[in-house]
């Protein structure tokens, strides 16, 4: 098996055997921290002279020679969490980063609290609790030193992995103290003092990714790299129409192919995120299993959605737009009267397509079902949800399932769903052997939980001075029974709600049969485009500068619900300054656009400079991003990387991506028809953070939404053509 720490195997084995004796710390849901006062355990030194390890809590172990092992509890999907969470602990523990080794936790919520990668939540959920975990361990080490020296703990200080008693000029390393410290009862976490941020030595300094040396040397690190002795390889062929089921297949012909161990039909259980129906092919190596698909003939019962199409949804949306919205999301004033009395009226229809996540590492999972228990090695963003689905589908209990969280080759929300985990577990059970299931790219593109498409029918009215006095959106989305599908909803706080005297946001839902789910900045990645583009139209209709018009809309510095207008005004203003907004003379065919968006507790304003060339070809020349995510950027190198990546991700979506359905099927199948952004298309992205007196919040997502409307608005400035539909169609610009 792969390992992500450089500690010797023997230590790992002995650690595992001593897990039960550990002092347990766990993070309660919502971020509260409890230390469970079970018997603290100190590992006996092995017979050889290797160092002994003392466990101070669920996250911190210290060796007799001063190496500190910190457990990182959350899945690593490229967001840098395996580096960042241990930084929080190490800071308050007061050790040198160079003495820290990091281990990836198993999925064990009872021990570590919630473990997931999603919603840019890791920073707000862990900023305070994990620093307290480090501070608690530090205090136990201080107490151990104070007892050793018979001095008051209050006279002891810590520095770089040592406890120091200045008056008597004594010091002891954490390594020497660890064994004694582990027997000291843990302190009350809530009352522990934390460092003044001005004293931070690790937080706020750039720390490269802890796994990067393994990445650049090609060490096995990802789910697809997992090897289990005796492992077989599987593909799982699902119905091209969602929810369809396999009726029959030429299984005997498949089984007669070289290297094929078995082929069988899986009936399927439950909803989209359960176990789909399909044909499993299991072989001695994956390429043989995948190759056998060339000969596979399956009779599918395609089910109820074999006629659905993107074109059909668009037509249905247009029809629904003529009716009143089925539900009112929010309503203020009298929008009908205000529209009628407006000096200027605007009307525009916007739309965006389904999108796939397209993680570069296709979905995969290795599972070993044995004696009623299953061990799983999964690249997953949400391991405990996977455990529950596997338990339900295979008729097991949670305790029967062990999940190793393996580094993910990208997440973007795709691996919040664990359909591939269920498939691997099921196939392993059928085979009675460990199985690595790997999807090919076509499987991955055609069996996603897609960002839902959407259709918005806007109206706006301005008074004679250009002030926005009426705003209306009829959002045609997907869902049933008045309930929007996953990531297909809109909230009552969608800006400019609460900022216009007369406003109505309404929704109508179309029933459909497409699996949907969160894609990086879910909801926001689509809503930012339509709202910030239409607001741009309004600003132009008012004859005003689009940046200044937005600041005017935000109005007084105040807090509206959870939204702080002052923070947004400041990022907008700074984005204007950094980009030279209003001060540049655009070349012919070039222009600048601006947009802002508040999501995942982060305030972001972005400016795009774009050029439209021959045949409507769009070149993004540069992006300026200004963000406010609170008082502290924890790991600046990673923060900048995330923000640049998020902005470029949005540009990639806008320039070329769409999942299209016809006859119930996804038409795209690989990166030729679902293009991801490439080097030559990627502009420089300049990133600035405003540090404000607010708790730090997450960065995986909130930089993405505003870049898409900023690009569309730049194209309007360059050409006078308004982008109202994604992806951007060069034919409209030629």
């Amino acid at each position: 098996m792969m390992r992500t720490s450089d500690n010797p195997e023997s230590r790992q084995a002995s650690l595992l055997s001593s897990r039960r004796a550990f002092l347990r710390a766990s993070l309660a849901v919502g971020g509260g921290l409890l230390l469970d006062l079970s018997i603290p355990g100190v590992m006996a030194a092995p017979p050889d002279s290797s160092p002994s390890w003392a466990t101070l809590n669920a996250f911190v172990e210290i060796s007799s020679d001063g190496i500190v092992t910190i457990t990182s509890k959350n899945p690593e999907i490229g967001q840098g969490i395996k580096t960042m969470l241990p930084m929080l602990i190490a800071e308050e523990l007061d050790v040198d980063w160079s003495s820290v080794r990091i281990e990836q936790a198993l999925s064990d919520p009872a021990r570590y609290g919630t473990q997931f990668a999603g919603g840019s939540r890791a920073t707000p959920l862990n900023w305070d609790p994990l620093r307290r975990v480090g501070a608690a361990a530090r205090q136990m080490l201080v107490s151990a030193a104070a007892q050793t020296w018979s001095v008051p703990a209050a006279e002891c200080e810590t520095k770089s992995g040592k406890v120091v008693h200045a008056r008597t000029r004594r010091s002891l390393s954490y390594g020497r103290l660890a064994s004694k410290a582990a027997s000291i009862p843990p302190p009350d976490l809530a009352s522990l003092p934390l460092k003044d941020p001005k004293d931070f030595k690790i937080i706020g300094k750039s720390h490269p990714g802890v796994d990067s040396p393994l990445v650049v040397t090609g060490k096995p690190l990802f789910g697809i790299d997992v090897t289990v002795p005796g492992m077989l390889y599987a593909v799982f062929v699902k119905s091209p129409v969602f929810g369809g089921s396999a009726v029959s297949a030429n299984l005997d012909a498949i089984k007669s192919q070289p290297g094929i161990r078995d082929a069988f039909i899986v009936s399927g259980v439950g909803p989209f995120n359960g176990l789909a129906s399909g044909v499993a092919i299991v072989a001695n190596n994956w390429w043989l299993a995948n190759k056998a698909r060339d000969l596979l003939e399956v009779v599918w019962d395609e089910g109820a959605t074999a006629a659905q199409s993107s074109e059909g949804f668009a037509q249905q949306a247009l029809q629904l737009s003529a009716q009143a919205p089925a539900t009112k999301v929010t309503s203020e004033g009298d929008v009908v009267q205000a529209l009628a009395s407006s000096a200027t009226q605007l009307e525009a229809a916007y739309s965006y397509p389904f999108l796939s996540h397209a993680t570069l590492e296709p979905q995969n999972c290795t599972a070993h079902f044995k004696n009623g228990k299953v061990e799983i090695w999964a690249p997953t963003q949400n391991p405990d949800a996977g455990r529950k689905i596997v338990a339900k589908t295979l008729g097991l209990t949670d305790a029967d399932i062990t999940i190793h969280m393996i580094r993910c080759g990208g997440g973007f929300g795709r691996r919040l769903m664990n359909d591939y985990m269920v498939e691997a577990a099921w196939i392993s059970k059928q085979m009675g052997a460990p199985v690595k299931l790997l999807w090919n790219r076509q499987d991955d593109v055609q069996h996603d939980f897609y960002r839902p498409a959407g259709f918005h029918f806007f109206k706006a009215g301005l008074d004679g001075a250009g002030k926005l006095q009426a705003f209306k959106d009829h959002f045609i989305s997907f869902g049933e029974g008045g309930k929007a599908a996953s990531s297909a909803d809109m909230g009552a706080n969608e800006f400019p709600a609460k900022f216009v005297a007369n406003l109505e946001l309404g929704m109508s839902l179309m029933p459909f049969g497409v699996p949907t789910g969160p894609l990086r900045a879910p909801g926001s990645n689509a809503l930012a485009f339509v709202f910030q583009s239409f607001i741009d139209e309004i600003a132009h209709a008012a004859g005003q500068d689009p940046l200044q018009y937005r600041i005017g809309l935000l109005g007084e510095r105040r807090v509206v619900g959870a939204f702080d207008t002052g923070r947004m005004i400041d990022v907008l203003t700074t984005a204007g300054e950094k980009s030279g907004w209003g001060k540049r003379t655009a070349a012919k065919g070039s222009g600048m656009g601006v947009a802002f968006y508040y999501s995942h507790l982060g305030y972001f304003a972005e400016v795009v400079h774009a050029t439209v060339g021959a045949r409507g070809r769009v070149t993004v020349d540069k992006v300026w991003v200004v963000g406010d995510v609170g008082s502290q950027i924890i790991n600046p190198t990673s923060a900048e990387n995330q923000v640049q990546g998020a902005a470029l991700d949005g540009i990639g979506e806008a320039l070329g991506q769409a999942i299209t359905l016809n006859n119930g099927r996804v038409l795209q199948s690989n990166f030729d028809d679902f293009p991801l952004l490439r080097m030559k298309q990627a502009p420089p992205v300049e990133v600035h953070f405003l540090k404000t007196d607010h708790p730090p919040t997450g960065l995986g997502e909130p930089a993405l939404p505003p870049v898409i409307p900023a690009l569309g608005n730049a194209i309007f400035a360059a050409t006078g053509v308004r982008i109202r539909s994604l992806p951007i169609d060069p034919k409209l610009l030629a």
């Binding site: 990067s212 090609g218 570069l360 030559k680 990627a682 420089p684």
Partner: protein
């Protein structure tokens, strides 16, 4: 069929279907997991290796076509000073997000620098646009290539500095 190929300076003999792509021979026969599967059709570059120093998409290179060519994978790219410089620059610039594409990126970058030790931004665009980074670490990949080449890391395409 029986094949004898040269991988990372070692002679490897193995039995495989003639159509089996080099990618899967490397990963599942020779247990060299550093070379990655992304698309299977040469669109993404995650599977890039060197054949006699030429960056090659191993996912569409059948084992029967490898012949006596010297195959170099990410596991041995550091055997050349250029390859090592590229790896070191990748770490110094802190390029990696998820990391899945980076083996292929490093193979393309080291092949570029071996042929063209002082590439321009246009050269980098040309050589690297076959390698997708889904996390879009492109700014840092560009900077790391220049750093490995001993060039200033400023992006010459940026007209707004």
């Amino acid at each position: 069929m029986q094949y004898t190929i040269q991988v990372n300076g070692k002679t490897q003999s193995l039995a495989a279907d003639p159509q089996m792509p080099l990618l899967w021979v490397l990963r599942d026969v020779l247990e060299l997991k550093g070379t990655k599967f992304g698309c299977g059709q040469s669109f993404c570059g995650a599977c890039t290796v060197h054949l006699n120093g030429v960056p090659t998409r191993s996912c569409v290179t059948p084992i029967s076509m490898v012949g006596s060519a010297a195959v170099t994978t990410i596991e041995a790219v550091a055997a050349t000073p250029t390859g090592r410089a590229v790896q070191n620059a990748w770490l110094a610039v802190d390029v990696v997000q998820c990391g899945y594409c980076q083996a292929g990126q490093i193979m393309s970058a080291s092949a570029l620098l071996a042929k063209n030790p002082k590439p321009t931004d246009a050269d980098i665009d040309q050589a690297m646009s076959g390698n997708i980074c889904r996390c879009a670490t492109y700014s840092r990949i560009r900077a790391a290539i220049k750093q490995a080449a001993g060039l200033p890391t400023v992006d010459s395409r940026d007209k707004f500095l």
